[in-house]
C-alpha cells in the first residue's frame, strides 16, 4: 500500500546528510533540552528529527552518543516528528536501523525498540495501514515470547534482556490503543503458565483482558473465545485489528474510574458471558492473582487496579478471588498496595469487605496515617484517603470529605494537630479535628473537659501567637489564616467555636496590623457566620485606637473593607483624625478608598463634611480632586444611583481597596497580562473554492473581548507565514461570523497552527492568551480544477491522468465503505472535485493540491463493503497522506 512504499524513501533521503560530530550533538541536545520550543523555532529546529535518524546509522558516532540521541527521541517525539506521516517514517527508519545492526551485542537494540514504539504510539501512527506497525508488532511478540529471531538480533543472552523490553513495548501500545492485543489473550495466557518473565506478562495480560472486556461490553458481545489460545501473528502477516479498531474510538474520557456505590450497574453489566466463558475468565484472573506475589509491589498494585476494574460489575464474577491476597496486603507499609486495596474496596464494597473488614481497613489506614516510620507525604496521602474513605454505607453527600462513621475520636487520638507539625500536616489534621468537632457537638453540651473543641481553641490561639511574631516569615501568618478559614468553613454553625475565634483574630490584628491583607482576604472568603461579627470587631479595633499608631496605612486598608453604615460617628472621627497624618499620596488614596466604601454604604451627613474638608486640606491635587468628586456625587445622587456610579465598571479593578492592590491595578493596566483563552477556535467545514485553500474558523466566545488580534504560526513552516486576523468586538451569546484564513502551502501536507490571542478586556486590561493549536488536515488543502466545458469532462480528466506520469506515481488502494455506500461518501466529502460521475458506483475525481500538485482518483466498480481506488499524482510525497485521508473519510462516513 502507498504509505509502505513512500516511508522508507523518505528515510533513505536523510542518509545523504553528513553526520554531525559528537560534540556538536552534545551541544545541540543541551540547547534543545534547555528550551525545546525555542530550539524548534530556531534555524536548526526543522531538520533535527531527520538528522537524528540519519546519524543513528553513522559509523562515526559512538554508541553512547547514539543512545543520547535515542533518549531525546523517547522524550520529544512530538517535536521531532510532529505529524503521523513523519512519525511513521521515523518508526520505519528506527526499525531499519535495528535490523541493520551487526549481530554482535549492542546497547542500541533496547532503546531502538523503545524509540520505535514511542514514535508510533505518540505520533498517532499506530494502525492497520501503518507499515511500521505491521513490522513492529510481530517483532515485539516474537522477542517477548522468547522465540529465536535468528542471529540478527544479537546473541541469545541479549535476546533475553530484550524480552522484558518487548513486553513493556507491547503493554504501552495496548495502553495507547486498547484492544490491540485482544486477539492474543489466549496466547498470553498460555505463556503465563510457562516459565519466564512473570511480571511483564501478567501486567500485559491483565491490561489486555480489561480492555477486551470493556470493548466487548460496549459492543454487547461476549468474549468470543478470546481467552482460548490463538495463532501466532507473523511479520508482515495479518494482525487482528478488529478489537483495536473497535476500541480506538473509545480511548475517550471515561467515567470516573473510582466507582460510586450506585454505579454498580456500570457498563460491564451488559457483558453477556456464557458459563464456559465465565469459567475461563475466572481461571485467568485466579492465575494472575496466584502469581501476583512474584511481582514487585508497584506492579502488584497495578495488577489489582486492572483486575478490580475488569471485574467490577461483571455478572457472575464474585470478587472473593481477591480475598486471599488482602491480609498480606493490609500488613505492608507500601503506599501503592494499600491504595490498591482501597480501590478494590471502592469497586466491590460489601461484596468483598464485611463491616468487620471495613473496620480493620480503617484501623490500618489510621495507623499508617500517623506511623512515625513512614515519610510525611505518604502519611498525608493516607489521611486524605481516610477522609475520602469508600464506606460500604456512606451517610453524607457523595464527593465531600467526611470522617467515616466507624472512625471515632478514640481512633483519631494520634491524629490531632500540633504546632510542631509541618503546615500541610497541621492543616490536614486540623480538618479531621473540625470534622470530629461537628460530630461531638452533642457531647460538648454535656461539658466534657478534654473535648476536641477545647483542643481546637488552644491550637488556634497558638497559631495566632506565632503569626503575631515580629519579623516572622509570612508562611506563619498564612498558616494561621488558613486554619481560621478551615475552622470557619467546617464549623460555620457553631457560635461556640466562632466567637472565641473572632475575638482571637481581633487581638491578632491589634498585635500585628501589618496582617491587614490577610484579614481582608479572610473576610472576602468566609461566610457571614464569621465574616459579620469579625467585621464589627475589626472596625472597633481600628477606630478605637486613633492617633498613636504607625500602622495607619494598614488601618485604612482594613477600614476600607470593614466600614459600613454602622458606627458612623466613630469611623468618621477616626478618619478626620487620620486625615491630618495622611501626608503622602499613598495614604491619601487609602483614606479616599475608605470614604468611597462609606459612600457606597450610604453614609450621609458626616461624610459630606469630611469630604469637603479633604477637598480643601489634602496636599495632593489628585487627592483633592477625588474628594471633591465624591462630595459632588454624594450631594447630587440618590443612593441607588450612587451605587451604580461607584460600581465596579467605573474605575479600574483596584477597588478591592488596598493600597497594594491600587498600585498593582495601575501596573496591570499598563502591562500585557497572561490570561486563559477567552474564545475557542475550531476548523469549520471545508470550502473548496478560490485560488488558495481557505480555513473557515468557527469562533465560540467565552468572554467579552475587544480589539482581538489572532496570530498564527505554522509548525515547520510548511505554509507561508499567515497574517493576523483582527476582530473589533466579540460578545458571548451573540452569533459570530466564521473567520476566513487563507493558506499558502509550500508543499501539500497537513500541519498545525499555533494560535495566540491579544485582546482588551471590558475593564481595559490588555491580555495575551495561548489557544489550543489548530489542525489543518490534508483534505483541508483540496481545491477543485476549473470546470471543463460540458461534454469535455472525460477527456479533461484523462488528459490530467496521463500527465501525472512519468514524473509522478500511481497506486491502488482499497477504501472500505460505511453502510451508506460510495455515493454518500462522495457527496459528503468529495463532491466539489468530481469531474465525471456515474452514481452509484463510479466517480472520476480531480483534486488540485496547492502550490502545484495534483491528485486524481478513479473510484470504479464499488462493492458493498468498499471500493478499489486507482490514484495518480505528480507528487509522490503525498501518497501516504492520500491513503490515510481516504480511510479517514470512510471512517467518518
Amino acid at each position: 500500500m502507498s504509505s509502505r512504499h513512500a516511508a522508507p524513501r523518505q528515510g533513505l533521503a536523510c542518509l545523504t546528510m553528513g553526520p554531525t560530530s559528537r560534540e556538536t550533538w552534545a551541544q545541540r541536545l543541551g540547547t534543545f533540552r534547555a528550551s525545546p520550543s525555542a530550539f524548534m523555532a530556531g534555524p536548526e529546529g526543522e531538520d533535527l528529527g531527520r538528522h537524528l535518524l540519519s546519524d543513528l546509522r553513522s559509523e562515526k558516532l559512538s554508541e553512547p552518543t547514539k543512545i543520547s540521541l535515542l533518549a531525546l527521541s523517547l522524550e520529544y517525539p512530538a517535536q521531532l516528528w510532529p505529524d503521523a506521516p513523519a512519525a511513521e517514517a521515523a518508526a520505519t527508519s528506527l526499525l531499519d536501523t535495528l535490523v541493520l545492526l551487526p549481530p554482535r551485542p549492542s546497547a542500541l537494540r533496547r532503546p531502538l525498540l523503545l524509540a520505535a514504539t514511542t514514535a508510533l504510539a505518540a505520533g498517532g501512527a499506530l494502525g492497520p495501514t501503518s507499515g511500521a506497525s505491521r513490522r513492529l508488532l510481530p517483532l515485539l511478540l516474537g522477542l517477548a515470547s522468547g522465540r529465536d529471531l535468528g542471529r540478527s538480533f544479537g546473541p541469545a543472552s541479549e535476546q533475553r534482556t530484550l524480552q522484558a523490553t518487548a513486553w513493556e513495548c507491547l503493554r504501552e501500545l495496548e495502553s495507547c490503543k486498547p484492544g490491540l492485543l485482544g486477539g492474543c489473550l489466549g496466547l498470553l495466557r498460555g505463556l503465563l503458565g510457562q516459565e519466564g518473565a512473570v511480571q511483564p506478562l501478567s501486567l500485559l495480560l491483565a491490561l489486555a483482558l480489561r480492555n477486551a472486556l470493556v470493548i466487548q461490553a460496549r459492543a454487547r458481545a461476549g468474549l468470543q473465545g478470546l481467552l482460548v489460545a490463538g495463532d501466532w501473528p507473523t511479520e508482515g502477516g495479518p494482525w487482528n485489528w478488529m478489537l483495536a479498531e473497535e476500541g480506538d474510538a473509545h480511548l475517550q474520557p471515561q467515567a470516573p474510574s473510582w466507582p460510586a456505590a450506585e454505579e454498580g450497574e456500570c457498563r460491564l453489566a451488559t457483558l453477556e458471558l456464557s458459563p464456559e466463558e465465565a469459567r475461563e475468565l475466572r481461571a485467568a484472573v485466579a492465575q494472575l492473582l496466584d502469581a501476583s506475589y512474584l511481582l514487585t509491589p508497584v506492579a502488584q498494585a497495578q495488577l489489582l487496579w486492572l483486575l478490580g476494574w475488569a471485574l467490577r460489575g461483571l455478572r457472575g464474577q464474585p470478587p472473593v478471588l481477591f480475598k486471599p491476597q488482602l491480609v498480606r496486603l493490609l500488613g505492608t507499609a507500601q503506599l501503592t498496595l494499600l491504595h490498591a486495596v482501597l480501590a478494590l474496596k471502592a469497586a466491590f464494597g460489601e461484596a468483598l469487605f464485611t463491616a468487620q473488614d471495613e473496620a480493620l481497613l480503617l484501623r490500618r489506614l489510621t495507623l499508617a496515617a500517623q506511623h512515625p516510620a513512614l515519610p510525611l507525604p505518604a502519611r498525608l496521602f493516607y489521611l486524605h484517603c481516610l477522609l475520602n474513605f469508600p464506606e460500604n454505607w456512606p451517610l453524607g453527600p457523595a464527593g465531600e470529605e467526611a470522617a467515616p462513621l466507624l472512625l471515632g475520636s478514640q481512633l483519631c487520638r494520634g491524629l490531632l494537630p500540633s504546632l510542631l507539625h509541618d503546615p500541610t500536616a497541621l492543616l490536614a489534621r486540623l480538618h479531621l479535628l473540625c470534622l470530629l468537632c461537628v460530630e461531638d457537638e452533642e457531647k460538648e453540651e454535656k461539658g466534657q473537659d478534654q473535648s476536641p473543641r477545647r483542643y481546637l481553641e488552644e491550637l488556634l490561639a497558638g497559631l495566632r501567637q506565632r503569626a503575631a511574631l515580629d519579623g516572622g516569615p509570612r508562611a506563619l501568618a498564612t498558616l494561621c489564616f488558613q486554619a481560621s478559614y478551615l475552622v470557619a468553613r467546617c464549623l460555620a454553625g457553631q457560635p461556640v467555636v466562632l466567637t472565641p475565634l473572632t475575638h482571637g483574630l481581633a487581638q491578632l490584628y491589634r498585635a500585628q496590623p501589618a496582617l491587614a491583607p490577610h484579614f481582608v482576604d479572610l473576610l472576602d472568603r468566609v461566610g457571614p457566620e464569621l465574616g459579620e461579627p469579625l467585621k464589627v470587631v475589626l472596625r472597633q479595633e481600628v477606630v478605637s485606637r486613633p492617633g498613636r499608631d504607625e500602622a495607619l496605612r494598614w488601618h485604612l486598608q482594613m477600614l476600607a473593607r470593614v466600614a459600613d453604615g454602622d458606627a458612623q460617628s466613630a469611623t468618621l472621627g477616626f478618619l478626620q483624625a487620620a486625615a491630618a497624618r495622611c501626608t503622602d499620596w499613598g495614604l491619601q488614596q487609602a483614606l479616599l478608598q475608605v470614604c468611597r466604601a462609606l459612600l457606597r454604604a450610604g453614609v450621609g451627613g458626616g461624610l459630606a463634611d469630611l469630604l469637603q474638608a479633604l477637598a480643601r486640606q489634602l496636599e495632593d491635587p489628585d487627592g483633592r480632586d477625588h474628594a471633591r468628586l465624591y462630595y459632588i456625587l454624594l450631594a447630587h445622587l440618590e443612593e441607588p444611583k450612587l451605587g451604580v456610579a461607584l460600581g465596579p465598571s467605573l474605575a479600574a479593578p483596584a477597588l478591592a481597596s488596598s493600597l497594594v492592590a491600587e498600585n498593582q491595578g495601575f501596573a496591570a493596566a499598563l502591562m500585557v497580562q497572561e490570561a486563559p483563552a477567552p474564545i475557542r477556535l475550531s476548523v469549520g467545514p471545508h470550502r473548496a473554492k478560490g485560488p488558495v485553500p481557505v480555513l473557515q474558523l468557527q469562533v465560540e466566545v467565552l468572554e467579552q473581548v475587544y480589539s482581538l488580534e489572532l496570530r498564527f504560526r505554522v509548525e515547520r513552516q510548511i505554509y507561508a507565514p499567515l497574517g493576523a486576523v483582527h476582530v473589533p468586538c466579540l460578545c458571548p451569546g451573540r452569533p459570530t461570523r466564521p473567520l476566513l484564513l487563507p493558506l499558502q502551502p509550500r508543499r501539500p501536507a497537513p500541519s498545525r497552527l499555533a494560535v495566540r490571542a491579544l485582546y482588551t478586556t471590558p475593564s481595559g486590561l490588555t491580555c495575551h492568551a495561548r489557544l489550543p493549536p489548530l489542525l489543518v488536515n490534508f483534505a483541508d488543502l483540496f481545491l477543485p480544477f476549473p470546470q471543463p466545458p460540458e461534454g469535455a469532462e472525460l477527456g479533461f480528466f484523462e488528459e490530467l491522468w496521463d500527465s501525472c506520469l512519468p514524473k509522478g506515481t500511481e497506486s491502488r488502494l482499497w477504501c472500505p465503505l460505511g453502510p451508506h455506500g460510495l455515493e454518500a461518501l462522495v457527496s459528503r466529502h468529495l463532491e466539489p472535485f468530481v469531474v465525471v460521475a456515474q452514481p452509484p458506483t463510479s466517480y472520476l475525481i480531480a483534486i488540485r493540491l496547492p502550490p502545484d500538485s495534483r491528485l486524481l482518483l478513479r473510484l470504479e466498480a464499488a462493492q458493498a463493503d468498499g471500493v478499489p481506488v486507482a490514484l495518480r499524482t505528480d507528487d509522490w510525497a503525498v501518497l501516504p497522506l492520500v491513503g490515510d485521508c481516504l480511510r479517514g473519510l470512510s471512517v467518518a462516513g
Binding site: 533540552r33 491480609v327 486524605h384
Partner: protein, 472 residues
C-alpha cells in the same frame, strides 16, 4: 497509573532562580493519553523553566514571599497533601506531586484517566500512589550510602539509564532502583524456574541470615501539669538473608522477655507472605492493657537478595529511659539555667555516646558562660548560641547528674543568630542524644532460635541490637 513527567530540582536559596532542574524526564505516550482522557481540561506538561518557577513559588521556596500574594497566601488556598496545582501560563497543571528532602525537590505529574473538571478525589487516581513510590524510589537511590556532592552527581548521572529500566514508558516497574542496577548485572543469568521479579538473581555460597533491630525513642518532657509528657519507641528490623534457591521459605520471629513492652503498629515488608491477625490489629490506638499481644511475632517470608526492612513497629514503654528537668530564668542579659538528668535503673548504663544539646534562639551570640557540672564536660559554641554537655559513656553510680550556670548574650543581629517560632522568651528546650549498643528498650530480640529456614544447609545466624535515643 502512569506518570507524564518526572523532575528533580535542587533548591538553591539565594540564587536568582532559587533552584536548578537537575533531572527531568517526559513520557510522550502517556502525554498522548492524557490529552485524550482529559479532553477540554487537558493542560500540557510545561518546559523545565516555567515548571521550576511555578513549583518553587507554590512551595514558598522562591525568595519573593515578602508581600502578600493572593494566589499563594490566600486563606482558602489550602494544601493538605503533597499534591499541588501549579499556575503556568494562565492554566492550572494538576495534580503535581512534590516534596522536598535534603534540599532536593522531587516532583512528578501522574496521568489522570478522566476529565479534570470537576477534580476527581486524589484517592481515585491510581497514578498518585505510583508517583509517590517512584519519587521515594529515586530518593532512596540518591541517598543510599551517599555522602557528598560528587557521589550525588554520579548517582544523578546514572538516573536516566535506571529510569529507562524501571520506568521505560512512565509506568513504574520497580520502585527499588538499586534492584534494577543489580538486574542489569544479573541479566546473563538464566532463570531456571519462576522467580520473583524483585529478586534479580540467586545467591550462591554459605547460607547466612543476619537480623538487626534498631530502636529510637522520641520523647517530649514538659514537666507541666496541663501537658502530658510523651515517649514513644520506633523500631525497625533489618534483615539480610543469604540463602540458596530461588524462593527459600524463612520464618523470622521476634520475641519479648516477660516484662517487655508489646510491639504495636507493625508494618511489614511486602515479601512477608502472611500475617497473624494479632499482629495486624495490635495498635497504639487502643489504650494499653495487659491483654495486648506480646509475641512471639512470627513473619513467614521469601527474602529478597538485598538487605531489607522486615518491619517497622512502635511501642509504649512504661517510663522514659532518662528523666530530664530543665529550667531557664531570665535575668536582664543573662539566663540562669539548671538541668537535672536521671537515668532509669532498668536501662543499660553503657553508651556509645551521650550528649545534651542546649540551644538558645532569638537572642544574640553567647558572650560568657559560667557553669558547674556534676559529671562530664560542657562545650560552648558562641556563634551558634549553643551549649553541648558531653556526658560520655556512663552515668555515675547515683544515675543522676546536674548542670547549672549562667549564660550571657551579646546584642542581637538579625541575620546570623538562629530564629525559632516557638522558643520565645522563657520557652526553651534541651535535646538529649545518645546511643546504646546491643540493647533494646522494649526488650525485643531475635536469636539463633528465631529463624527457621526451609532450605538446604543450616544457616549461620547473627543478630544485633541498637538503640538510639533522642529526648527533647
Amino acid at each position: 497509573m502512569a506518570q507524564r513527567a518526572v523532575w528533580l530540582i535542587s533548591h538553591e536559596p539565594g540564587t536568582p532562580l532559587c533552584g536548578t532542574v537537575r533531572f527531568s524526564r517526559r513520557y510522550p505516550t502517556v502525554e498522548k493519553r492524557a490529552k485524550v482522557f482529559n479532553g477540554a481540561s487537558y493542560v500540557p506538561v510545561p518546559e523545565d523553566g516555567p515548571f521550576l518557577k511555578a513549583l518553587l513559588f507554590e512551595l514558598r521556596l522562591s525568595d519573593d514571599d515578602k508581600d502578600f500574594s493572593e494566589s499563594r497566601d490566600s486563606c482558602s488556598h489550602i494544601n493538605k497533601t503533597s499534591i499541588y496545582a501549579l499556575l503556568i501560563g494562565g492554566e492550572e497543571l494538576w495534580p503535581v506531586i512534590a516534596f522536598m528532602k535534603n534540599g532536593m525537590i522531587y516532583a512528578c505529574v501522574p496521568l489522570v484517566e478522566q476529565t479534570l473538571f470537576p477534580r476527581p478525589p486524589l484517592i481515585s487516581i491510581s497514578g498518585i500512589s505510583q508517583g509517590f513510590e517512584l519519587l521515594f524510589g529515586v530518593q532512596g537511590f540518591l541517598y543510599s550510602g551517599q555522602k557528598n556532592d560528587s557521589e550525588l552527581n554520579t548517582k544523578l548521572s546514572q538516573l536516566p539509564d535506571l529510569l529507562l529500566q524501571t520506568c521505560p514508558f512512565g509506568t513504574l516497574l520497580d520502585a527499588n532502583l538499586e534492584n534494577s542496577l543489580d538486574s542489569i548485572n544479573f541479566a546473563s543469568v538464566t532463570h531456571p524456574q519462576k522467580q520473583p521479579t524483585w529478586k534479580a538473581g540467586t545467591y550462591k555460597g554459605k547460607p547466612q541470615v543476619s537480623i538487626s533491630i534498631t530502636e529510637k525513642v522520641k520523647s517530649m518532657q514538659y514537666d507541666k501539669q496541663d501537658i502530658a509528657d510523651t515517649w514513644q519507641v520506633i523500631g525497625v528490623v533489618t534483615c539480610k538473608c543469604d540463602l540458596e534457591g530461588s524462593m527459600p521459605n524463612v520464618t523470622i520471629s521476634l520475641s519479648l522477655p516477660t516484662n517487655g513492652s508489646p510491639l504495636q503498629d507493625i508494618l511489614v515488608h511486602p515479601c512477608v507472605t502472611s500475617l497473624d491477625s494479632a499482629i495486624l490489629t495490635s495498635s497504639s490506638i487502643d489504650a494499653a492493657d495487659d491483654s495486648a499481644f506480646s509475641g512471639p511475632y512470627k513473619f513467614p517470608l521469601t527474602p529478597p537478595l538485598e538487605s531489607f526492612n522486615l518491619c517497622y513497629y512502635t511501642s509504649q514503654v512504661p517510663v522514659p529511659p532518662i528523666l530530664g528537668f530543665y529550667q531557664v530564668k531570665e535575668e536582664e542579659v543573662q539566663l540562669k539555667i539548671t538541668v537535672n538528668l536521671k537515668l532509669h535503673e532498668s536501662v543499660k548504663n553503657s553508651f556509645e555516646f551521650c550528649e545534651a544539646r542546649i540551644p538558645f534562639y532569638n537572642r544574640g551570640p553567647v558572650t560568657h558562660v559560667e557553669h558547674k557540672v556534676s559529671f562530664g564536660q560542657l562545650e560552648v559554641f558562641r556563634e551558634k548560641s549553643l551549649l553541648i554537655w558531653i556526658i560520655g559513656q556512663k552515668f555515675p553510680k547515683s544515675l543522676e547528674i546536674s548542670l547549672s550556670g549562667t549564660v550571657t548574650f551579646g546584642a542581637k543581629s538579625h541575620e546570623k543568630q538562629p530564629f525559632d517560632q516557638i522558643c520565645i522568651g522563657g520557652t526553651a528546650y534541651l535535646k538529649l542524644h545518645f546511643r546504646i549498643l546491643d540493647y533494646t528498650l522494649t526488650g525485643c530480640y531475635a536469636d539463633q532460635h528465631s529463624v527457621q529456614v526451609f532450605a538446604s544447609g543450616k544457616p549461620k545466624i547473627s543478630t544485633c541490637k541498637l538503640y538510639r535515643f533522642k529526648l527533647t
